[in-house]
Subunit: 243 residues, 2 copies
């Protein structure tokens, strides 16, 4: 019966995380545009590890200490003092294989550190590029799950909600889901799934507008493509690694 | 051009209200099941005023001081010390006309007081029973709007999100809407609008389950019926009154 299945909840914004039982759950950090998509891509292409950090200062400091690649953007440009940006296209195997990437992002890293502070049972990152890896992992673990949307400065966003919906549509039979945010996310995904890019464009999603203003439609398209970098990214000892 | 239109935002939970500019906005308090539906019904049926209060204690105290009707539920039953419940069916004109109703609710009242503390430019309550009155008022005011979902103990719920979507679908051309929560709400409403009750049931909305467990499907059905008590409910000097 359903009572023996673990619970699954969707948390639509970091500002709502306190409502959920983080310490008994695996938390999936979702930052579709573009942090968790780029993390999946870098690890899929052979990066040794990705270290997510809050600030440009930390990124430079840790990057220098480790001899690692530093990356991050502010306002759509590579942040001053860093070498690379947030685009998944910057991390082909020919460049990233075997290397350590120190990546500074705002929304995704903040949520990850919140989940860590609340003693999450496990933390992975989720994106369309590694959707199947995420789903397979969650089903296999048989643990409670929180799909954590990184959102945009705590405001709910469409793309992270869609990813939550995509996960739910695939694994719902393995979980007990009594959660209106999950029902909302899966409804939105069912509406959008035939053409996620067109849905984002038609609905004038805030981050679609922001990135397309920078000419980054190609990035959006990539970040909405399922299983194009289908690698499980798990957080262990301060680093995201491939499993 | 769109820049001359006022902004409209949807706030999906009281825990997100701090993200929005409340003091320059008219805030619509949305608590579909059942507070704002019952408020619309009582005022539509001739109640002199509705005084929303947080606690049963306040409800009794104010009710006695004013010689008013006291109402409110906890866990689906009339709260101890109060005379009536939260059902709109308890407030026909034959009973409520000319009277003052002191109503204690949890989610809706909390959000209303938050909006008050943040100096909202105006506060009205919104529900399906008074949908057109709400829309007409917002269009006429030409002010920024926040559609404030009362949610359930800060968790996003389907029914309040649907009401926000219903409002947006009717008035979107009069506002500048760059808000993913609004896009999500209106998408959900477009999906659900042909049969809101069936949508709530099919999606196993948390509050649908809660109320139907108490045998209150009739209340849910009523609270999802558009314009059945089409009266504007505006908050002035501590009271909700008919305009």
């Amino acid at each position: 019966m359903t009572s023996t299945k673990p619970n699954l909840y969707t948390c639509l914004s970091p500002a709502l995380l306190h409502l959920y039982d983080v310490s008994s759950s695996i938390v999936v950090i979702i930052d579709v545009l573009r942090a968790t998509s780029t993390i999946a891509t870098a690890l899929h292409n052979g990066a040794k590890e990705v270290i997510p950090v809050d600030s440009v200062t930390d990124c430079i400091r840790i990057g220098e200490a480790m001899g690692a690649i530093t990356a991050g953007e502010r306002d759509g440009k590579v942040a001053e003092g860093l070498s690379y940006g947030n685009s998944p296209f910057e991390y082909p195997a020919s460049f990233i294989a075997g290397k350590t990437l120190v990546l500074t992002t705002t929304n995704g890293t903040k949520l990850l550190h919140m989940a860590l502070d609340k003693n999450a049972k496990g933390i992975i990152t989720g994106s369309f590029p590694n959707l199947t890896a995420v789903c397979n992992y969650l089903v296999a673990q048989k643990q409670p799950v929180i799909l954590g949307c990184a959102a945009w400065k705590d405001r709910v966003n469409i793309e992270d909600t869609l990813l939550a919906g995509a996960v739910i549509s695939r694994i719902k039979n393995h979980f007990n889901i009594n959660c209106d945010s999950s029902a909302t996310a899966s409804s939105l995904y069912e509406m959008a799934k035939n053409d996620l890019f067109d849905f984002m464009k038609t609905k004038q999603a805030s981050h679609y507008l922001r990135l397309s203003n920078y000419g980054l439609e190609k990035d959006i398209q990539y970040c909405l493509t399922e299983d194009i970098a289908n690698t499980l990214c798990i957080y262990e000892d301060g680093k995201l690694v491939k499993k």
